[in-house]
Amino acid sequence: MKKFLKYLLALIAFLFIGYHSVYFKKLTEVSARTSTEKINISQYTRTFWNKKLLPSLNKALSLNELIALLKTDPEKAFSTYGKALGIGDLKYFMVKGVGKVMKVNENEVALLSTATTENLVVNIATEYVYGNAVRDASGLINTNDFDNTSDFNEISAGINQIIRDEVLPDFKKRIASGDRIEFVGAIELNKKFLNLSDIEITPVQLKILK
């Protein structure tokens, strides 16, 4: 009797755990649902660019304001305006400003950002546009929306491709030293090793003012 009770309890425990461990469904139903839920990366990137990123650019922080704050209170600058998806010292900022083109190089445009007290020169990347600066600085994408990091990184690759295909070609053709330009773009700064003399902007919007 005691043995029977032992086996009975073990069976009940096994069934209880089993019931709460697995569930069964028709594969066709599940496949149909996941295919509609699966994110189409190129479509997602395009929608993100048009409907989220571009409308949000008017909220970008003035580069001059950011620089001034970084010089006086870097802690506040990073905690208030810095964005990052992971932990660490690297933070991303979406900045805007106006500046005078000092030099047009093969890989970037050196720009004298106006209205800064110390004549800050920044570079705008025109050839090698890579990394996650724009995606992360936007603060508009949630990692949990993606099944895997590969898809998530594809978004950055897609954004960078749009910049290379749509933002830069015309700008690169027309730009010349001495031009005044208006820019919005993303920058990456290291909180621990802050270097304001080597800022590179990944552009999202560029306008030559002449």
Binding site: S21, F24, K25, K26, L27, E29, V30, F146, N148, T149
Partner: protein, 324 residues
């Protein structure tokens, strides 16, 4: 004052004294060390190593070694994440088996137990040296992880699963609870059960244990199975903390766990050591890692320092054994 009188005291509490000195030194140099948040941070970080090291202690007590724990951790973490995320599909039967968090975790721990038991079986059945058998499993499990994940992380496992690695319960991080329960059970196992006494006996003198009627193979298989299961639990915590199963997770974790065991005073020749000693060893390693990071020591130097500490621990242990 005759210092010789205090020698047994110093030998008995050498790990504790080392930890105290380490904490004192780091807190003198860095004001961020002795803070509550950093304390919990260290505890959360070492909870995985404690789980693995407890299993490793049992193995080392039998005069064995388990080099496969890091890879087993990765495989079990990947398996759990994969089942939780994708379930199992059987196209011919038009059947999909989905797994709840409980189900996926159970499969992960069972897989770890099985791999550990397989190690034990290979070691006892074919008399393969533990070093070789578990080294082979290290490679097999890592390969299986890469095959299963196709080299990509499996992420987006949900907030409920993330609670295991990042959540708090009664103001204490959940991983600390898990490692605490593991330690408690292991202490009971080693001090209050027959299996515990067998483990020490086998490590102390295997031939004598066999002659006294202990089923050596059975005990060893159980010990390696426990080590595998605890590596799997470590895998669950790591996967949950990162919210993703990384194919290269757990690399060199076996070295950290062996270091914790050795620093904790467990003899690599078996039969001597305690679970609490290992916990202390894991805390020393954790505090050392944390301190070196807070002191901005280069990661390359961190490895050198860690290696030197392990070497020092073994030298001290050897010299103590000689004096006994």
């Amino acid at each position: 004052m005759d210092l010789k009188l205090y020698k047994p005291f110093f030998i008995k509490f050498q790990s504790l004294i080392a930890l105290f000195i380490l904490c004192l030194l780091i807190s003198l140099i860095s004001d961020k060390f002795l803070t509550v948040s950093n304390g919990w941070n260290v505890m959360r970080q070492i909870s995985v190593n404690i789980c693995i090291s407890v299993g490793m202690t049992l193995v080392v007590l039998t005069a064995g070694i388990d080099l496969s724990v890091g890879s087993v951790l990765a495989l079990c973490g990947a398996l759990t994440a994969g089942l939780l995320k994708n379930g199992l599909a059987f196209p011919q039967a038009d059947l999909f088996i989905g797994f709840t968090i409980l189900g996926a975790m159970l499969v992960g721990v069972l897989a770890g137990t099985f791999l550990g038991a397989f190690n034990g079986w290979a070691i006892t059945k074919f008399k393969v040296p533990a070093f070789i058998a578990t080294l082979a499993m290290l490679t097999i499990a890592r390969g299986l992880t890469l095959l299963y994940t196709q080299g990509f992380p499996i992420s987006g496992l949900g907030d409920d699963f993330a609670y295991l690695g990042t959540g708090w319960f009664l103001s204490i991080p959940v991983p600390v609870w898990i490692s605490g329960i593991v330690v408690l059970l292991a202490v009971i196992l080693t001090t209050k059960t027959r299996l515990g006494r067998y483990i020490y006996a086998i490590g102390g003198n295997e031939s004598a244990s066999r002659l006294s009627g202990i089923n050596i193979s059975r005990v060893k298989i159980i010990v390696y199975a426990i080590s595998g299961a605890l590596a799997a639990i470590g895998g669950l915590i790591v996967t949950s903390r990162l919210d993703s199963a990384q194919p290269n997770a757990g690399s060199s974790y076996e070295l950290d766990s062996i270091a914790a065991v050795v620093i904790g005073g467990t003899s690599l020749s078996g039969g001597k050591g305690t679970i609490l000693g290992t916990v202390l060893g894991a805390i020393i390693i954790g505090v050392l890692n944390n301190g070196l990071v807070l002191l901005n020591v280069s990661p390359f130097w961190q490895q050198v320092v860690k290696g030197a500490v392990i070497l020092l621990a073994v030298i001290i242990d050897k010299s103590n054994s000689k004096n006994d």
